[in-house]
């Protein structure tokens, strides 16, 4: 099982074991597509998930592609970093059609632009105008208090309801 890791290391990519059944691969943004398609050829055919981590202090978004090989019973976690100010990356939907929905979700929750994905419409949220909610600088408590909290004096210029007998 170390063969595949050595092959990846030979490609000048950082790779290491995370657990018994999974390893991570760190790749630069422009080599993401080639890394993923290489792994897909090696048997990592199932796309399990796409996640993103907001490293606000470094000013980067870390995209995490989780893919799986059923033959090797291994999970590969491919990570790449993109700048937070200009979060653009190419879409992987030509490799897995499934990526389309995951990218749509990441676009909504982090504001990342996926070049080549035609379907980046709102998905989970409706009429969302604030900062994308999963970014670290979005304060969910302040948002909730502002929008939902019940203030007794808040009457919108209409007289408050009286209890009906």
């Amino acid at each position: 099982m170390d063969d595949i890791l050595n092959e990846i290391k030979a490609m000048d990519l950082k790779a290491s074991w995370l657990g018994d059944w999974e390893f991570e691969v760190l790749t630069p943004k422009d080599r993401l597509a080639s890394t993923l398609s290489y792994l897909k050829l090696k048997g990592f055919k199932a796309f399990m998930g796409l996640s993103c981590v907001d490293w606000i202090e470094d000013g980067t978004f870390e995209l995490v592609y989780i893919i799986q090989s059923y033959d090797l019973a291994l999970e590969a976690i491919v990570k790449t970093k993109i700048p937070r100010q200009k979060p653009v990356i190419e879409s992987m939907r030509s490799l897995w059609g499934l990526c389309e929905v995951y990218e749509r979700e990441m676009h909504e929750f982090f504001g990342i632009e996926f070049v080549g994905n035609p379907n980046l419409k709102p998905f989970f949220l409706e009429n969302w105008l604030d900062t994308p909610p999963l970014r670290k600088d979005f304060d969910t408590l302040a948002f909730s208090e502002e929008l939902f909290e019940f203030k007794e004096d808040e009457t919108h210029g209409i007289k408050p309801p009286k209890r009906i007998e």
């Binding site: 199932a46 998930g49 996640s51 019973a73 499934l98 969910t140």
Partner: protein, 377 residues
């Protein structure tokens, strides 16, 4: 030039839009498909999720590592224990905590009981959509005895909040295992009856056999996991391939149906239910004595070392994964939840339902056993 206003209007009304959900008896949970229909058949499908979105991934960043244990069972409502176990296993791996053998056995017991409950619930849903209400009454009733067992063990019927990093919260009550064996005896007697009235029932057979065939390539390509994948002939089960807890000490098989149609997907669940009973019986026999938890830091000092890990558990719907990132603080930096229904509900259904007749749509949805809370999160 021929002017025919009727013909033009016919063209306009050739297609119509039909909402399956959110308020529709044919959908599971609060979720919606917008179907573009032509006559009886589906032309285009759009998934419309987010009706159950609660922002778990954001809320978890705001709570302590152990506070989250109260939050995460709510991600998958019919089978909440997988969340707790996957999350705890991730933390334990990152903190290098050794879990006592007895706690691992208890976890397996809880997981398998939850799996049986979830299978019974899923199969009862199929009865609802095919108009076979006996199965709803019977299976939900039988599932309720499992909830009684859980209530005795943990104090909660639906949400248990029983797992804790380093073990489980309290030991098995005296007499609980006997009660469990009694229940398993009861369920084993019931299983042949289920076979008679569900699987040999001509109505259910006519509605499901040959419906919604999924090939093995399609299943892998579209990220299906769990019984849906195995029903298509890919015999991959995390419990066998990457054994966690004590599954490598237990003797069980992965049943093979391999037709890939709706009927085999239900049958797969039925056969795996029998395997779960087998696992539970072995656990009752083999469970060792000893402590049920190890000592871990108190919740306010509970820090997970810097790093990341993807921990996963085979749930009754497929792979439930938690990608956990820690920066060494008392709160998680980021937790990503991979729900097993995500790929089938939001992506594959929009392709697979095309061309299907309207009355088959709810049946297809129920045989895939999707669970909207786990992809809405």
């Amino acid at each position: 030039m021929e002017l025919n206003p009727l013909k033009e209007s016919n063209d306009e009304y050739k297609y119509y839009e039909l909402f399956i959900g959110p308020n529709h008896p044919g959908i599971e949970g609060n979720f919606s498909y917008v179907l573009k229909m032509k006559g009886h058949s589906v032309v285009e499908v759009t998934a419309d999720p987010g009706l159950l979105h609660r922002g778990f991934e954001k809320l978890m960043e705001r709570r302590l590592w152990t506070q989250n244990l109260a939050l995460i069972p709510r991600i998958c409502v019919p089978e909440p224990d997988v969340n707790e176990v996957a999350y705890c296993m991730g933390i334990e791996h990152m903190m290098k905590i050794e879990v006592p053998k007895r706690a691992q056995y208890i976890r397996v017991i809880v997981l398998e009981l939850a799996r049986i409950a979830s299978f019974l619930f899923g199969m009862s849903g199929l009865g609802g959509t095919t108009g076979h209400y006996t199965s709803v009454q019977w299976l939900v009733g039988d599932r309720d005895y499992i909830l009684d067992l859980f209530e005795w063990l943990t104090g909660g019927r639906v949400y248990h909040i029983y797992q804790y990093p380093g073990g489980v919260k309290n030991d098995l009550p005296v007499g609980w295992l006997d009660k469990l064996s009694e229940y398993l005896d009861y369920l084993e007697k019931r299983l042949p009856e289920y076979d008679k009235f569900i699987f040999q029932n001509p109505i259910i057979q006519k509605r499901t056999v040959g419906l919604g065939y999924i090939s093995a390539e399609d299943a892998i390509e579209n990220g299906l996991t769990g019984p849906n994948l195995r029903a298509s002939g890919v015999m991959y089960d995390i419990r066998k391939a990457q054994p966690y807890l004590v599954y490598n000490e237990l003797d069980f098989e992965i049943p093979k149906t391999g037709d890939g149609d709706a009927f085999s997907r239900v049958l797969q669940r039925r056969l795996e239910l029998a395997e779960s009973i087998k696992i539970l019986r072995q656990c009752v026999k083999q469970i060792p004595d000893g402590p049920h938890k190890t000592k871990v830091p108190n919740p306010f000092q509970f820090r997970v070392p810097k790093g990341s890990f993807y921990s996963k558990v085979e749930s009754s719907r497929g792979e439930f994964g938690y990608y956990i990132v820690s920066d060494g603080d008392v709160k998680p930096y980021r937790v990503y939840v991979r729900g097993p229904s995500y790929s089938i509900g939001l992506h594959y259904a929009t392709k697979a339902l095309v061309g299907m007749r309207i009355e088959d749509v709810p049946v297809w949805i129920h045989t895939t056993d999707m669970c909207p809370p786990d992809f809405d999160r």
